[in-house]
């Protein structure tokens, strides 16, 4: 092939790439394995996940996935990772994405949804860049994050958008309630280009989204919501926050029918108000009619995208998480509005029950007073790490240790119980925690 295109060698073909940008070795990447070896390795890894009770949320949540979801999603007609090339030849795929977009606009209360992004964290970076393009009146590149924005999202957004001059700053947390301190935001300085509000917050608490949204809009900032789609079945939709509503919503779509799978693949949700749709990244499917007047589906508003706008495209994303979105669409169809609402309410109830049980113990208290969704921060009277190790020895993943990312919160542990946890599971957790706290190895200092 090199001969056919007139290149003498692979190196000559890639001659345009500056020498110092070439990667010679990848540190930490092991040698290749045979198919047999890799199958054995992956089976061993998968076995490690079996038989544990998982109480970790922190952005990815274990929910019951009806068997039909992946049975249908993996049918040959659907089984593809991306939006197809020659997309209009795959009308069924486009219709599925169109139905998905309709469901997401209905959950977020916004006008338009795209066909999805890679995941929630990169979705925030895309949303911030979009806000800068859409908010031309603001000369600022400053993005303010409510105190409960996932620290990982902030890191990812900084990595992707930081090189384009955007800065990300976190607003102060009210240590008693666990939500953004509205008394302190008045001193936030130069008006930002966008304000990001995660609801429910990373700590599971419910932010005062109406007040924060109105405050941001008064300063000429756009409002970016980070939403957990499960919560949207019971909480106010971002499009209805405050007087004018959030302008953009993004978030992790994994809770809608995608298994935890050790961290991926997941998918990113993104929706916005119609007036800024031309600044939205990603693919968008529209409904139209063909020359004979027959209804059909087509990719639309493509002049935003790379294959047309080249370097001035809204983003370098030129596909979607097609398979995950297919699963999510089937998942939402099977659950329906009432089913999703029951999942949300049951999760809230189980988490509240667990928090009530464990905080009755000596040495354990709930850290924050604000209302919670399906996740809660516990504060222990001793370091969290050793306690979690003892729980893990009983096959219980007891939550996420917040000590590294949030040392100011003390011995803080983020715990989540979704509808997958029965009352007996909660009792197992409480009993295992009791045992751990009585263990002489982890006595409080």
């Amino acid at each position: 092939m090199l001969g056919a295109i007139g290149a003498g060698s692979i190196d000559e073909l890639f001659d345009e790439i500056p020498r110092d940008l070439l990667i010679k070795d990848l540190d930490g990447v092991p040698d290749a394995l045979s198919e047999m070896e890799i199958s054995r390795l992956m089976r061993a890894r998968a076995a490690e996940d079996r038989g544990v009770l998982c109480f970790i949320g922190a952005g990815a949540y274990e929910h019951h996935i009806p068997t039909a979801v992946w049975d249908i999603a993996t049918r040959g007609e659907f089984y593809s990772a991306y939006t197809p090339y020659q997309a209009e030849a795959s009308q069924g795929t486009l219709q599925t994405i169109y139905e998905y977009q309709t469901m997401i606009t209905s959950l977020t209360g916004l006008d338009v949804s795209n066909a999805s992004l890679y995941d929630g964290a990169s979705g925030l970076a895309e949303a911030a860049l979009m806000a800068v393009r859409a908010n031309r009146k603001s000369k600022s590149r400053r993005v303010l994050l409510a105190s409960g924005v996932n620290a990982t999202y902030r890191k990812v957004a900084q990595a992707i958008a930081g090189s384009q001059g955007l800065t990300f700053e976190t607003l102060p947390l009210d240590a008693a309630s666990g939500i953004t301190d509205l008394n302190k935001i008045k001193d936030a300085g130069e008006p930002p280009v966008a304000v990001v509000i995660q609801q429910p917050s990373f700590f599971g608490t419910l932010e005062q989204v109406d007040e924060l949204t109105d405050w941001a809009h008064e300063q000429g900032a756009l409002v970016i919501a980070i939403a957990n789609p499960t919560s949207l079945a019971v909480l106010k939709a971002p499009g209805h926050w405050g007087a004018e509503g959030a302008d953009i919503a993004c978030g992790e779509g994994q809770p809608l029918g995608v298994p935890l799978s050790s961290g991926g693949p997941y998918f990113g949700i993104m929706a916005c108000k119609e007036k800024i749709v031309r600044q939205m990244p990603g693919r968008i499917v529209g409904r139209t009619t063909d020359l004979d007047g027959t209804p059909g589906f087509t990719l639309t508003l493509q002049a935003r995208e790379q294959h047309i706008r080249r370097s001035k495209a809204t983003s370098n994303i030129c596909t979607n998480q097609g398979l995950m979105v297919t699963a999510a669409t089937i998942h939402m169809s099977l659950l329906g509005y009432h089913g999703l609402r029951r999942v949300a309410l049951q999760s809230v109830e189980q988490t509240a029950k667990l928090a009530g049980m464990v905080s009755a113990r000596d040495g354990v208290e709930t850290a924050f007073s604000a209302p919670h969704f399906h996740e809660v921060v516990l504060r222990l009277d001793r370091p969290v790490g050793p306690v979690l190790e003892l729980l893990a020895a009983n096959n219980i993943l007891g939550g996420l240790d917040l000590t590294n990312d949030y040392p100011e919160l003390g011995n803080a542990l983020l715990v989540c119980a979704t509808e997958t946890k029965t009352d007996a599971d909660l009792e197992s957790y409480a009993a295992a925690l009791d045992n751990a706290l009585q263990d002489s190895q982890v006595k409080s200092a």
């Binding site: 031309r136 009146k137 031309r278 002049a303 047309i308 706008r309 001035k312």
Partner: protein
């Protein structure tokens, strides 16, 4: 090919300029440009008061098959934009030299090269060959 209005000057980027009596300059895209783009679906306009440099990006015209930048043919300040294009971008297709105007500038900087109607006519004939 429709006739080129004689009171306008033209650029190689297929924009036209009209000198207004108050010293400002009205700018649009030529009939040749709108034909090449096809039916326009969206026009991104600059903010009034925005400063533009000669040759800088000033607006974007988007059709069903392409999106193109409109470059400022002269440096200056945007004094007026054709807001009607927001709801009716096809006005550029229907009347490129009249109701389809895009931006009005108060010039203050360098001007780029422009052509009279005959020279522009010859320029686009040469492109077609």
């Amino acid at each position: 090919m429709s006739e080129l209005p004689g009171d306008l000057t033209y650029t190689k980027e297929h924009e036209w300029l009209r000198q207004e009596e108050d010293g400002s300059i009205t700018i649009g895209i030529t009939d040749h440009a709108q034909t090449a783009l096809g039916d326009l679906v969206y026009v991104e306009l600059p903010e009034v008061g925005q400063e533009v440099e000669n040759g800088g990006e000033m607006a974007v015209v988007e059709s069903v098959k392409a999106a193109s930048d409109v470059y400022a043919p002269i440096g200056g300040t945007v004094t007026q934009v054709n807001d009607a294009l927001a709801d009716d971008p096809e006005m550029i297709n229907a009347d490129p030299y009249g109701d389809g105007w895009i931006v009005r500038l108060q010039p203050s900087g360098d001007a780029g090269e422009t052509m009279d109607p005959d020279a522009y006519q010859a320029f686009i004939y040469a492109l077609d060959e």
